[in-house]
Amino acid sequence: MRLLIIEDDREAGNYLVKAFREQGHLAELAADGLAGYALARESQYDVLIVDRMLPKLDGLSLIAGLREQKIDTPVLILSALGQVDDRVKGLRAGGDDYLAKPYAFSELLARVEALARRRSGPRGEDTVYRVGDLQLDRLTREVKIGGEEVVLQPREFRLLEYLMKNAGQVVTRTMLLENVWDYHFDPQTNVIDVHISRLRSKIDKGRATPLLHTIRGAGYMIRENGR
């Protein structure tokens, strides 16, 4: 994955570059809005990580400028402004995701990977998701394990749908709350964990190696055994 990080704080920028490289991604850094804008126009990136407050050209104008130039590289906005209306403004300007500072790197990584995948993978278009013997039909809303139907509550279905859409990738608790419940606050207690464990009891019951994994310090991942 090739990333462009547009962040004026040297230390934070270098930390991100290093952390993404450790994860095996290519990351470049631009220290101000104009430099970032030029790079984003010239080269192909999978995801842009844009700080909202940048010298020379602020983040939102930068994104709006790129969108005007028909450059639709997914953009994740990083901002110290984490209030509801700031988020709305960021997404309105053309951002694809919004993460308030300070954040956990695992959260940023999971979101950036989800954005990159959204672009490359046709996964969103599939009508049937499959992970191992687990099968989810988005049209008939049926879930089957090895051909046998499993009854899920509507919310459990959406939870599983989102996990399977991102199969093999980490999804964080806030990503689940955002995409399954459409709320953007930080679920302070373990609400999501309990929903996951309910779902797990339905799809991983009696399985030697489960499909639904807890990724410590990050979130959850659904994946086929041994992959």
Partner: protein, 463 residues
């Protein structure tokens, strides 16, 4: 001198001046037109008299000749009044009459006109004004009949004097009155300015004076006072918050620092270091949450722009949150139920309302699930023009005397101090309720606590 200058510059004085000019012009127009009209009426009357006399005298002359005319004129001349008569030869030599000369006598016969004349026995330089008419009688005699108009001139003078006097009084009363009114206004405005300066200097308890007259200045002062009261409240809130922040953020910061020292200690093993670092991350996450909550409260209290508010279904949001928390409640051995009416539309921000309800349910799960049959009820219903969303538990409740206080930021009752939480949940919920022009109150659920959020209904659905 400076204050006098200030007085002349006041709006009240300028207004008085404008009124004075206006009234002066008015008085002048009225008196001038009255005078002109009176003069006109008098002139017409005089003209009639003169024409009648001329007709009569011409007739007498026709009947009895010059002799008759002279006798008649001499008789008339003796009568008191302003009438003047003069009969001369064609050359202008005096024959009879009560005046001896007038320039009109030598002129052509003509219409009634103003002229001057001299009375018999008066000095040559004295002359009087008269309205007169000259006729030339058959036999080449000149007859001049007129009427003294000295009284017209007197009338005109009286009117002019009257106008002058009234203008003088108008000016005097207007100026003094204007100054008086201006002074009163100036005093009140000066008093208000002085109060404002004292307030600016830092005495925020100072208020503007009101006279109780209920006039526009009083209303202005009342509104400014209300504004000051609101500012005062905010200031007090702010200083309380900074005290609380100092206290409640320094404690976790101290813990954070201790953990960091622990991790940095040279003789600790890799496992200990790793555990300490994890604790540091957890501690800083908790701090971030507190900051977030504080910022949300501050933003909610400053008021969101209305384009972030739209019509949302409060019942639907309550259902979402109840559904979100139901498994956690079950895990804790509590029953979470919901009783929700449909179509409870409010003008609001779904995200903030959801966060508010999540806080309330979270609180109920933290503090309200003691006892043997713990249950939480989330309900939403229409009460008159409002939508009431309640989160009720069967826990120990909140004592009456603490119900107001517990909504304040960072206030945590003694028995909750030991549990996790920032003490901001209820403050945040209350701030969100206020942002939606609603309110939050705590009630006794007998037993337990019921938090009621009342929001104005958007009123578009189901009347």
């Amino acid at each position: 001198m400076k204050t006098v200058g200030k007085l002349f510059r006041t709006t009240a004085f300028k207004l008085s001046l404008a009124y004075f000019v206006l009234f002066s012009v008015g008085a002048w127009v009225v008196l001038a037109s009255v005078g002109q009209r009176v003069e006109q009426v008098l002139d017409e009357e005089t003209a009639q008299t003169i024409n009648a006399e001329i007709a009569r005298l011409t007739e007498l002359y026709g009947e009895g000749g010059l002799r008759q005319l002279v006798t008649s004129i001499e008789r008339r001349a003796r009568a008191p009044g302003g009438s003047i008569f003069l009969v001369t030869t064609y050359a202008g030599e005096y024959i009879a009459g009560n005046i001896i000369a007038s320039p009109m006598i030598g002129a052509e016969e003509g219409a009634l006109d103003e002229t001057i004349y001299r009375r018999r026995g008066e000095a040559a330089d004295i002359h009087h004004h008269a309205l007169a008419k000259l006729v030339i009688l058959p036999g080449e005699f000149r007859l001049l009949v007129g009427h003294d108009i000295e009284d017209h001139r007197v009338l005109r003078r009286i009117l002019r004097q009257g106008l002058g006097a009234s203008l003088f009084w108008l000016a005097l009363v207007g100026t003094l009155g204007g100054l008086f009114v201006a002074n009163r206004m100036l005093e009140r405005v000066d008093a208000m300015s002085a109060s404002a300066r004292r307030i600016m200097a830092g005495d925020l308890d100072q208020r503007l004076e009101t006279t109780g007259a209920g006039d526009e200045l009083d209303r202005l002062a009342e509104n400014l006072n209300a504004m000051l009261a609101r500012i005062g409240e905010l200031m007090t809130g702010l200083s309380e918050v900074s005290d609380n922040i100092a206290h409640d953020l320094k404690t976790p910061l101290t813990r954070l620092r201790n953990r960091a020292e622990e991790a940095a200690r040279a003789n600790s093993g890799p496992e200990e270091t790793s555990a300490a670092l994890s604790a540091i991350i957890a501690e800083s996450d908790a701090l971030i949450r507190v900051f977030d909550a504080l910022l949300t409260i501050a933003r909610a209290e400053a008021g969101y722009s209305s384009d972030n508010l739209n019509e949302v279904d409060a019942g639907k949001i309550a259902a979402d949150i109840a559904e979100l928390y139901e498994p956690v409640a079950e895990q804790q051995g509590a029953l979470l139920r919901s009783e929700l009416e449909e179509g409870l539309m409010v003008r609001g921000n779904r995200e903030l309302l959801g966060r508010m309800l999540a806080n309330l349910v979270d609180n109920a799960l933290k503090y309200g699930v003691g006892g043997d049959k713990p249950s939480i009820l989330v309900s939403a219903r229409r009460v008159g023009g409002s939508i009431e969303i309640c989160v009720a538990d069967r826990g120990p409740g909140v004592p009456l005397q603490d119900r107001e206080r517990v909504i304040d930021r960072f206030v945590r009752l003694e028995n909750s101090r030991s549990r996790p939480g920032s003490g901001l949940g209820l403050s945040l919920a209350a701030a969100v309720a206020r942002l939606h022009h609603g309110s939050l109150r705590l009630e006794d659920n007998a037993p337990g606590l019921r938090v009621v959020v009342s929001l104005p209904s958007a009123g578009s659905s189901r009347g």
